[in-house]
Structure formats: structure tokens, C-alpha cells
């Protein structure tokens, strides 16, 4: 900045200072607004039913009802639902990561007549409205007797996800040619080249893909709601619909506490895996 060469009290200097203050104020206020809803959720989870029922808002609970979290845990089979969510997320996340890497390798390092068209369809299918295909798929799964099983997630996992295929393709396409050339000369099959040479190189993308797929599945509400009965369903469905008193009214504070416990693991995973996650997000910008 040229400002350093100016006398300290010059008008330019003051203007830069004011600009900084405005900038930081805006940043802090906006960040506060973005964190507000989650903060309020935590506060709601710490209030007593009485505080939530009466009209003037109780900003902060008089007594922090920490036991709400334990109660939310005990009122429903929280662990059981969490286990179901984990099973589905691990099955889908693991399978879809492997299958997408497999398909991505094909699009990145191999060619055949029709590749261009197929790649075009792959990219186009990212824009297909999933909700539209989900409803008839549900009817077909129902016909095949797969409702109330985890088979749909196995099938979805095996069939790869266009978005993740694209992620892997971008990564594999950037690796040097020499990587497989020696192996091809040695008569190594492509399957082996993929498994022995390319996969071990791609831990960053593999973990990013797994985290992304895991987050999708953990967060998904519609598919488990459609396909699974209550006790086989996921935490998303349980948090949404099981915190109801015998009179049929919602137990707001426990539901809020349960939502916090449902959301925090995802936030932690994101914070830990942040770099790969954000790299994956940016790639989807598709310039």
C-alpha cells in the first residue's frame, strides 16, 4: 500500500481506517446473522417447556436445562436411529466412492467410440431433477420388495454418482501419463493399474468423496422417509417426527436438543475434512 509513505493523520489514511472498521463491522454482523439460527437452536434445546410456552421471549434460559440432551437421548431410541444412519451412510459412502473412482478412471484415462456422448450424458444427468426420479424409483423398489431394506442404498452406491465421477475424473486426468505406461508395457490389466497404481495415489479425493457422500446420506430425509419403516429409519426422520408428547403436541425443547446432537457430528466432520470438502465443492463450479 502507498499509504505507508503518507503522514499518519492524512485524510487518505483516515479513510482507509474508516473503511477497515466498516468492513470488520459488516463481517462480524453478517457472520453473527449466519450463526444465529444455530445458536438459537442450542438455546431452545436448553430451555424448559414453560419458558417456550409463554409469550414474551426468554432470551436465555433461567436455568440451563442440560438434562434435555440426556432426555432427548432416552425418549426415543436415539442410538438405534443413529446406528441406522451410520450404516446407510457408510454403505452408500463407501460403495459410491469406489464405484465413482472406477468410472472416473475410465473417463479420465481411457477412450472408446462414444466416450464424448457418454460424458455429455453424465454431465447432463447431474442436472436431472432427482426428486422426479425418486418417486417412480420408490414404486419400483416397492414392487421388488426392497422397501424397508437397505438394498436401495447398495444399488445407488454401486451405480456411482455423476458429481463424484466428475470429481475423480478431474483428479485422474491431471496425473502424469508415465504412471500407467510402464504397467501397460508389462502387460498389466487396466483393473490392476487402477487398483494398484491410481487408487493409492488418490487418498485426498477418496476421503473428500466419502465425506461428501456421507454428508448427503446423513442429511437425506426424503429417501429414508419413503423407503424405511419407523424403526429401521434414520436419525433425520426420527428427529423430525418422533418428539411428540402422548397428547400429540411437539416437545420443542427435546426436539431442538436432538437436532443439535444430529447436526453437530456433521459439522465436526466438515471442520476436520474441510480442505478436501471445499476443494470438491469448488470443482463443481464447472467452469
Amino acid at each position: 500500500m502507498t499509504a505507508t509513505s503518507l503522514p499518519p493523520k492524512s485524510p487518505v489514511h483516515v479513510r482507509i481506517r474508516v473503511n477497515r472498521i466498516v468492513l470488520y463491522t459488516v463481517l462480524v454482523v453478517v457472520t453473527g446473522l449466519f450463526l444465529g439460527p444455530f445458536g438459537w437452536l442450542v438455546l431452545t434445546g436448553l430451555k424448559s417447556p414453560g419458558e417456550l410456552a409463554s409469550a414474551p421471549v426468554h432470551w436465555v434460559p433461567a436455568d440451563f436445562q442440560w438434562h434435555n440432551f440426556a432426555d432427548a437421548f432416552d425418549l426415543i431410541d436415539f442410538l438405534g436411529y443413529a446406528r441406522n444412519s451410520l450404516i446407510i451412510a457408510f454403505v452408500y459412502g463407501g460403495l459410491v466412492t469406489l464405484s465413482s473412482a472406477w468410472v472416473g478412471y475410465g473417463f479420465a484415462r481411457l477412450s472408446a467410440p462414444g466416450k464424448k456422448v457418454l460424458f455429455g450424458i453424465l454431465i447432463g444427468s447431474m442436472m436431472l431433477p432427482q426428486m422426479i426420479t425418486l418417486l417412480p424409483t420408490y414404486l419400483i423398489f416397492a414392487k421388488l420388495g426392497m422397501v424397508d431394506t437397505y438394498w436401495p442404498w447398495v444399488l445407488w452406491g454401486l451405480s456411482s454418482a455423476p458429481y463424484l465421477v466428475f470429481l475423480f475424473r478431474q483428479f485422474f486426468a491431471g496425473l502424469p501419463r508415465e504412471l500407467e505406461e510402464a504397467a501397460i508395457v508389462d502387460g498389466c490389466g487396466y483393473g490392476q493399474i487402477f487398483w494398484r497404481i491410481f487408487l493409492p495415489q488418490s487418498w485426498p479425493v477418496l476421503s473428500a468423496s466419502f465425506v461428501i457422500a456421507f454428508t448427503w446420506t446423513w442429511g437425506d430425509y426424503i429417501a429414508p422417509q419413503l423407503l424405511l419403516s419407523t424403526d429401521k429409519s434414520t436419525l433425520a426422520v426420527a428427529v423430525m417426527s418422533t418428539y411428540v408428547s402422548s397428547a400429540g403436541t411437539p416437545i420443542t425443547n427435546l426436539q431442538a436438543a436432538a437436532s443439535v446432537m444430529y447436526v453437530v457430528p456433521i459439522l465436526l466432520i466438515f471442520l476436520i475434512a474441510q480442505r478436501g470438502f471445499v476443494a470438491g465443492m469448488s470443482t463443481s463450479g464447472l467452469k
Binding site: F38, P129, Y221
Partner: protein, 332 residues
């Protein structure tokens, strides 16, 4: 697949490559090419098979159902030709819900993009703890829809919500945010909460804008707004276009915030406030509340075609506006 299975696949491939119809006349080179071609299809086959079975077949099935009265229960359902389509054309609920979905897209997509772009510009400034601000602003985009829905339900609760708390503190009357006609604003705000997604994608684009361009503009005397409008936005336009298209498609499909907003016990289709009764909610109601699979399938196909048309129109109208930065190095 396990390592063993994987290598047997590879072995089989290798042995067919050796013992298979070797075209000796063309030499070993073309058999290598043939091997590559086979390998390509072996690799992309999971996606092809999955796409056929889990996307094309269901869509075709829905198309077939849309010409019938199938409801999943009654055995004597029959073919009605275009009957379902005629019915939906004459149903004012369809048109009203379509209008609401369109309005929701037209309002929420540009707002999200403006918010995301604004946030990106903000955290692209050289400020202290920039990384922390980025992370915190992105965090809400990671919150699953159920968490977001419940958070906003509590935030806008008539009695216990913070929003009405602020309003009454300022001397205004409390507002029934979760009911008509205000529920639609809560809906848009829930969507805007996830603007961090667009922030991250725009940020990647912003960092690709060459420094020299900004410096050249400053030397020419362009102010920061002018630089933003004439350099940053055009260079970001492909990213923004992609966000618009995917945003419109996503917004039309949105059902979660609509289902979650109501005060009622468990949410659900029947309790969605009228102002949030969008096209997709209409489909859900026909599908699950009424079991009218045939009619709902017709609704789905109409929406699908409308999305295709909308996407085409967006590309058409932006073709002159979107600026594709062609890297001269990449061209040979």
C-alpha cells in the same frame, strides 16, 4: 469389490486380450486399442447400468403410469390416454402451485446468488482471520435440511422465536411467521441461510481472476464498483450461470423447508401453509396423501419437461452475456 475380485477381473481382461480374436493383420497396436476400448466400457459400465436402471427405467415407468389410473391398491386400473394430462391442465391447484414454485425460484435463486457473491467478495478482502470467517459463513450450508428446518421453525416461532422477540422489543406486533402469508418469507430465508455454498464456488472463481486485470483497471481510474461490475462479474459469469441453472432445478424440487415450517406436530404434507404449497408439494400430496400414482406421474413429467424448457431458455438468453475465458495456451 475386494482386491481379489478386482484382480480376477483384470486377469480375465488380460487373458481375453491375449487369447481373444487377435487381429494379426493389423498388428499388435490395434489390439491394444481394442483392449483400451473394452476397458473403457468395463470402467464406465457401473454408471451406464445404474443410469439405465435407476433413472431411465423409473422415468419410463412414470411416463407409462401417467397414462393410467394406477393407485397401487385397486386392481382394475386402466389406460386413460391423455386423461391425466387433461385433468391437470384444468386443475387450478396445479396452476397455482406451479406459479408459487416459479415465484419461489425467481425470488430465491437470484437472492442466493447475490448473497453468495456478496459474501465471497467480502471474505476475499485481505482481512484478519479470513479463513475463520469463511468457515463460519459456510458452516450453515453443511447443516442438513432437517436441522435447518427445525432451527428456523424455532427462530420464527410466534411465542418463543427470536425474530418476534426482536420485533416486540422494537415495539412492533408479533407476527405469525409460520402461517400464511408469512411462511413464504421464512422459506426464502431458510434457503438463503445456505448461501455459503455459492460463496465457496464464487470464491474459487474470484481467485482465478488475474491480478493484472484489476491493476490495469485501477490505473485506468476505475472505482471498485466499476471494477466489480466490468471485470469480476463477466469473468465469473460462467460460474454464475451454472449456479442459476442448478439453483432453479434445486428450488423447483425443494420440499423439505415447506414440510418443516408448519407449527404442527410432525410437519407433513397436509399441514403445509397455502403460501408454501408449491408444485412439488402438490406432487407429494397426490402421490402419498392420495395415492394417485398415475395422476402424480403426469404432474412429474410435466415438471420435467418444464425444467428442460427453463434450462434451455436460461442458456439461450445468457449465451450473449456469459463470457467464457479462453486460455490461449490451451489451444494449439
Amino acid at each position: 469389490m475386494t482386491v481379489d475380485q478386482m484382480s480376477t477381473v483384470a486377469d480375465r481382461l488380460r487373458s481375453t486380450a491375449r487369447t481373444g480374436p487377435t487381429r494379426t493383420a493389423e498388428g499388435p497396436r490395434s489390439s491394444m486399442t481394442a483392449r483400451r476400448h473394452r476397458a473403457f466400457y468395463m470402467f464406465v459400465s457401473p454408471w451406464i447400468v445404474g443410469f439405465l436402471l435407476l433413472t431411465i427405467v423409473p422415468m419410463a415407468y412414470a411416463l407409462w403410469l401417467s397414462f393410467t389410473t394406477f393407485d397401487g391398491i385397486s386392481p382394475n386400473w386402466h389406460y386413460v390416454g391423455l386423461g391425466n394430462y387433461r385433468e391437470l391442465m384444468n386443475d387450478s391447484v396445479t396452476w397455482d402451485s406451479l406459479g408459487r414454485a416459479g415465484l419461489f425460484a425467481v425470488v430465491s435463486v437470484p437472492l442466493s446468488i447475490i448473497a453468495g457473491l456478496g459474501l465471497a467478495v467480502l471474505v476475499n478482502r485481505p482481512v484478519k482471520a479470513r479463513g475463520l470467517f469463511r468457515t463460519l459463513l459456510y458452516l450453515p450450508a453443511v447443516v442438513p435440511p432437517v436441522g435447518a428446518g427445525i432451527a428456523f421453525k424455532n427462530l420464527f416461532d410466534q411465542n418463543a422465536g427470536a425474530t418476534n422477540g426482536v420485533l416486540t422489543f422494537l415495539g412492533f406486533d408479533a407476527v405469525g411467521w409460520l402461517a400464511d402469508p408469512y411462511a413464504r418469507y421464512v422459506l426464502v430465508m431458510t434457503v438463503l441461510w445456505g448461501a455459503g455454498n455459492i460463496m465457496i464456488i464464487s470464491l474459487a472463481g474470484l481467485q482465478d481472476v488475474p491480478r493484472e486485470l484489476h491493476e490495469a483497471a485501477r490505473i485506468d481510474g476505475a472505482g471498485s464498483w466499476r471494477t466489480f461490475r466490468s471485470i469480476t462479474v463477466p469473468l465469473l459469469s460462467p460460474v454464475l450461470l451454472f449456479q442459476t441453472v442448478t439453483g432453479v432445478i434445486a428450488s423447483v424440487q425443494t420440499v423439505m423447508p415447506m414440510l418443516l415450517a408448519p407449527l404442527s406436530t410432525t410437519g407433513g404434507i397436509t399441514t403445509v401453509p397455502q403460501s408454501n404449497y408449491t408444485y412439488m408439494i402438490h406432487v407429494f400430496a397426490q402421490y402419498f396423501a392420495l395415492g394417485r400414482y398415475g395422476y402424480a406421474s403426469a404432474l412429474l413429467w410435466v415438471l420435467f419437461v418444464l425444467i428442460l424448457i427453463a434450462t434451455g431458455l436460461i442458456f439461450r438468453f445468457t449465451s450473449g452475456v456469459v463470457f467464457y475465458n479462453v486460455d490461449p495456451e490451451a489451444k494449439k
